[in-house]
């Protein structure tokens, strides 16, 4: 049986676009026909669930019963990939909990594929998060995500300072999420549908919608670039080494 994969999307700061990145990941795996489920830790009400209601369950990641719901089902769930959108401020503590339950040890032994998408925020505190996270994350596949989707200007960081933190994590890779036109982003929010549904002019239940062609074009172009970043780090190979990659057609 294929090895299950867990992708943790988190940051210790709020408002840096964690859920947006999680949404692009779910769309990406969907486009690759990789069965995926998601957990939204913004209990009791999750934003991720609003966009992907059928794939997403809202959980309290600090509660043992919900931890069981996520991790005890990795081997038995139909979904091959589990995406966990970790609520702001809970990344470090979640990683700590994963250490305590032996999850990270399983990942180290190769029983589970584990990846962390660490979404960086605009302040120097985000850099310090990297150092803190690095201590616990161990051998996980670690991706530092610079999220420009809302035009955050945090890349005015001194490159030397950034690199000194970046190098603290062995094998860490960088992903850049480009900016999306504000109106296009807002319209997807209003529509409350996955990005691929918006691009395909579909409503929440797959019915025909009437979104602006221009805005759909912006989203299609942006999503293509985001997926290009995921292709660059060979994300599909990571979670499913033999899977064929033909993502662009779905985005189109």
């Amino acid at each position: 049986m294929a090895r299950p994969a867990v992708i943790l999307v988190g940051a210790d700061k709020g408002g840096v676009g964690k859920t947006t990145v999680a949404r692009t990941l779910i769309d990406y795996f969907g486009a690759h026909q990789t069965p995926t489920r998601a957990f939204d830790t913004e209990s009791p009400r999750g934003t991720l669930k609003r966009f992907h209601p059928e794939l997403t369950e809202v959980v309290d990641v600090t509660s043992v019963s919900d931890q069981m719901k996520i991790f005890d089902t990795l081997g038995s769930a139909d979904a091959k990939v589990t995406v966990i959108d970790v609520r702001a401020g809970l990344l470090s503590s979640t990683l700590q909990a994963l250490t305590e339950i032996g999850f990270l040890e399983s990942a180290k032994k190769g029983q589970i594929t584990f990846a962390v998408f660490h979404i960086l925020g605009p302040s120097i505190a985000s850099l310090e998060e990297i150092a803190e996270t690095a201590r616990v994350v161990g051998d996980a596949n670690y991706f530092l995500v610079k999220n420009f989707v809302n035009n955050t200007t945090f890349f005015e960081w001194d490159p030397a300072t950034y690199n000194s933190y970046f190098k603290k994590i062995k094998g860490a890779e960088e992903i850049t999420i480009p900016k999306l036109n504000e109106m296009a982003y807002e319209q997807v929010e209003v529509a409350s549908v996955p990005f691929v549904s918006f691009v395909g002019n579909k409503g929440a239940k797959g019915e025909a919608a009437n979104y602006s062609f221009v805005l759909r074009g912006y989203v299609r172009h942006w999503l293509g670039n985001v997926w290009g970043e995921y292709d660059k780090v060979k994300l599909v190979d990571l979670v499913s080494p033999k899977m064929e990659s033909n993502v662009r057609q779905v985005a189109g």
Partner: protein, 241 residues
Amino acid sequence: MSFRNSVVIVASPRPRVGKTLLARLLTDFQRHENRTVAAFDVNSGERGLIQFLPEQTVAATIRDVNGQMALFDRLVAGDDTTKIVDLGHDSYESFVGLAHQIDFVEEARRRSIAVALLFMVTPDQTSVAAYRSLRERFAQALLVPVHNEILGSSQHRDKYPVAGGGAVSMRMPVLAPGLRKYIDTPPFSFAGPDMSNAVGIPLDAHIELQRWLRRIYLEFREIDLRLLLADLQTSMRSSGL
């Protein structure tokens, strides 16, 4: 697909090469053929098309998203209307870049709307490079190099190879000296009573204008034919014939 649902874009990165005159002629040709037509004046400066065709033309801009939506969402609407775009040189780069980014030609094809790009030929390197770029970016569109003879007799054919399903170039014959004043003073319409009744035009000038117009309309019919041919080829390919 048919010319009831087509978008014809008159373009060049250079100013004063005859784009607006060609857009006027195209718009009036559609009216002459009793087709529903809508024209879009995408110029940030002088809006010549609106002056001549105020009822058929809307001012369009692509400087902001609202303007982009107003223009492109209308262009891909399947409303049995032929759309003519007079693309000013100052909006050329941003229009082409945006159209490529949002996959305009592909979306139009999905909706059975034919797209033709009529490119005004000039010998400068900027235009040659722009044409080459259009061929690469919009391989699915009918790209027609337009040789405006008033710009000189050299045709630069080697620099502007024809492209697209129907592969055709167009010639805009020179209008006899002295006749420009009749057509360059608004209000004037090639499809209106000015031409049909020769109002305010001496008879000999009117005859010469008619002759010139017939030659141009002949060129337009050739483009129509190529659009239909391209459409037919696409249909046959998609049905596996």
